[in-house]
Amino acid sequence: MRQISTERIIDAVKHAAMNGNFELGEDVVQAFHTAKKQEESPVAKDILDQLIENSILARETRVPMCQDTGLAVIFLELGQDLAIIGGDLQTAIEEGIRQGYKEGYLRKSVCHPFTRKNTGDNTPVITHIEVVPGDKLTIWVVPKGGGSENMSKLFMLPPAAGWVGVKENIIQTVISAGPNPCPPTIVGVGIGGNFERSALLAKKSLLRPLDIPNPDPELREMEKELLEAINKSGIGPQGLGGRITSLAVHILMMPCHIASLPLAVNIQCHASRHVKIVL
């Protein structure tokens, strides 16, 4: 059986946390350039220029692109033929985040719900583990900001709501969020499953790079229809008015209970940070 040490996992997570906060993905930077070409508002064009400049500065100066370096969300695909040695996986992930946020001078943004006392090391981490065939460990490190997370919503719709109802609730979520989640956003949508699975699908949909189309043609059409509707809202970059409110809509869908139509909308700010590592 293939083995992997927790030391390697710690090191990989640590560097991913830092690099993720300093280096905006090329897919997102390209989307800013495309948005600038489509944008009509001069203020909005100016903002997109600032975002492009910010991404270059962050990369060059190793200052985080956004001061909200996020609550660390980790998606793991653990190959069932892989043995982890030298400790337990969850502890290794937490240690990687702890070290990355310390060494990278990233903001510690985790606190007690009521006293608001900071935990001091950006843990605990939100971890989602899936066991898959094979002997690899795939890790996505996703620092998620609070501003866009706060504007996310979950709906348990009646089945009669259908696509029309789903569409209406997604658009309304984006419109009522307005400038708060730092548009231009990426709208992650989870349809089906159950209460918690819909939320997980919505978040997971955000792992897909912006330059990769949805492999499902039905979902691809739905994403296109939603993006067009959202970008008619006029909210624009930073909510100051413009054509590009969202850069993309990403959907994941699965079957649900005969009584339900769960819908989750997870909004991602333009600082869409997701680093994928395969060990």
């Binding site: 200052v63 008015g241 413009g242």
Partner: protein, 186 residues
Amino acid sequence: MGNHPIHLETPLSDQDIEILKAGDRVTISGILYTARDAAHKRLIELLEAGKDLPIPVQGQVIYYVGPSPASPGRVIGAAGPTTSYRMDPYAIKLMQLGLKGMIGKGKRAPEVKEAMVKYKAVYMAAVGGAGALMAQAIKEARIVAYEDLGPEAIRQLRVENLPAIVVNDTLGNDLYIEGQQKYMIE
């Protein structure tokens, strides 16, 4: 819009801000104070207890930001604005004491906008998520209160040409509403 930005030097007077209109681009130089919701809560608790505040308020500008830590050799880490509605429950009290400016991102409550007209104050948006870029305008930073709050401590910043856009002016205009209406497609 698109014209040369209006330059502001803090502290601000009523005259300084009455000329500002929603949609104006500004650059700000001088002293700013940082505060997020945790610090605001403590400030208001002091006022309610009849005690002095650790920072001046009259004529001042508060920047809603919780910067990331400064790495060695730097003044500050990333320092873009946080979402402002969380400060809405506290903002009116500070405007009554003469606060002239707030910098953040996102919509303000109707009563906060009304208070800006009544007490003459403006709300300006900085580009959210442009933390590395905003940090370039910050020349000095030191903690002046509530160090235990970490990123939420109150810092005194000296800034040079910090870029922002006026969202809510003293006439009750709101760029978030007007900007969206202008580009909305029915």
